[in-house]
């Protein structure tokens, strides 16, 4: 049985913890709003990019097309880009992305493919390192970045393209978390190299059929556009990830705050009982003493 003083100390410390988690929850809520706005602001661009890509891909479908669109003709070496957060304390956010990536690695290895891993974000690197250290080929550190910008995405894209040109891999897949709502973030994988234009949505079919003229030629436009399409996909993944991270952190901290509250209630009851017991014991002692006289 802990003493009264111990209980009091524990209640105090849980209260402090609750203050911290509450504050973190509010910070995450504010950041989430900003991240969501950024994700929404980025959507027209990636949609526009996709639309142009579809028109181009349709026009270039009959030809060979550049390597970025057509692939290297093999799928022996896979590069997995695992995008996670720089910080923890956000529930299962990082783990679920890593779990999806691990599953994929095992599947690919079972098929006899070579797997390489590039991590974005410290948490993912730490978790992947435990099992797959020998597969890791690089890491992108975003810990100094307050708000992910397009230039972060272009930097990653440039790195990927240089590796692709050097023949380091045939297929690149990104792993990130798609933001559905505050309580639901879906770990997602998406292939970015070779570039696969997203399927046209229903209702957009009509515009896809227009035959475009190209200035300069299709090839030139494709060589200019494809690297940018990669960067765009990375950028929207980064934005989705940022929003998901804050959402996950918010609900994790909300849970933590609630748990702390429950714990305080429980400890308080225990404290009161012990106090009552101590008083009763004391009374019994006094009465027993008085009767003995």
């Amino acid at each position: 049985m802990p003493s009264l003083k111990d209980l009091k100390n524990r209640i105090e410390s849980v209260k402090n913890t609750r203050k911290i988690t509450k504050a973190m929850q509010m910070v995450a809520a504010a950041k989430l709003r900003r991240a969501q706005e950024a994700a929404e602001a980025g959507r027209p661009y990636s949609e526009g990019m996709n639309k142009v890509m579809r028109s181009l891909a349709a026009a270039a479908a009959d030809g060979e097309g550049p390597k970025l669109l057509a692939g290297t003709g093999s799928d022996q070496t896979h590069l997995l880009v695992v995008m996670t957060a720089e910080r923890g304390l956000c529930g299962g956010f990082n783990s679920s992305i890593v779990k999806l990536a691990r599953q994929k690695i095992e599947d690919l290895q079972a098929l006899g493919k070579t797997v390489k891993i590039l991590t974005v974000g410290r948490k993912g690197r730490d978790q992947m390192k435990r099992e797959f250290e020998d597969l890791m080929v690089g890491h992108v550190d975003l810990s100094d970045v307050k708000r992910v910008g397009y230039e972060n995405a272009t930097a990653i894209a440039r790195d990927l393209l240089a590796r692709y040109e050097a023949g380091e891999f045939d297929v690149a897949t990104i792993f990130f978390s798609r933001f559905e709502s505050v309580i639901s973030q879906v770990p997602t994988e998406a292939q970015i190299i070779p570039v696969a234009p997203a399927e046209a949505e229903a209702g957009e079919e009509e515009s896809g059929k227009v035959v475009y003229e190209f200035e300069p030629g299709e090839e030139e436009i494709l060589t200019e556009l494809l690297p940018r399409a990669v960067a765009t996909q990375l950028f929207s993944a980064l934005l989705e990830n940022a929003a998901s991270e804050q959402g996950a952190r918010m609900s994790a901290m909300d849970n933590a705050t609630r748990n702390a509250g429950e714990m305080i209630d429980k400890l308080t009851i225990q404290y009161n009982r012990s106090r009552q017991a101590a008083i009763t014991t004391e009374l019994i002692e006094i009465i027993a003493g008085a009767e003995a006289l």
Binding site: Y45, G48, V52, Y150, Y212, E213
Partner: protein, 131 residues
């Protein structure tokens, strides 16, 4: 024939403009062009320059560096890597862009150097024109 067409200008970080325009001047890489409703469908890359769109509420100007324009008979969509309203853009900003482009050209690999240097040249040309 419709009087106006849908004009959209988007950059990775935000949507800069979206309105009905009567004419849009686009700095295509093969030359300036003015697009009016009913234009033949064209996809063109852009070089640094000014996008000028005249709509109901007057003319709006934007500076774009690189990007792509998708033109169809009833819409113009410009997907620009970097874009700013002209009124917000000062000479010093342009020079900063140029500085960055130069740095990138210097650091670029063999194959990329040509494109990067071409971009620097076009930017210099554009800044001279602005004066």
């Amino acid at each position: 024939m419709a009087e106006t067409m849908q004009f959209d200008l988007v950059s990775p970080e935000k949507r800069l403009a979206s309105f009905a325009a009567r004419a849009v001047q686009v700095p295509g890489s093969e030359g300036e062009m003015t697009v009016m409703p009913g234009h033949a469908p064209v996809i063109t890359t852009l070089r640094p320059g000014i996008v000028r769109a005249s709509g109901e509420s007057g003319e709006e100007e934007f500076i774009v560096t690189q990007g792509i324009a998708e033109i169809s008979s009833d819409s113009v969509m410009i997907v620009a890597e970097q874009s700013f309203p002209r009124s917000e853009m000062k000479r010093s900003d342009l020079e900063r862009l140029l500085e960055e482009a130069r740095a990138r050209a210097a650091a670029a690999s063999e194959e990329e150097r040509l494109t990067a240097e071409k971009f620097v040249e076009e930017l210099v040309h554009f800044i001279e024109m602005m004066e």
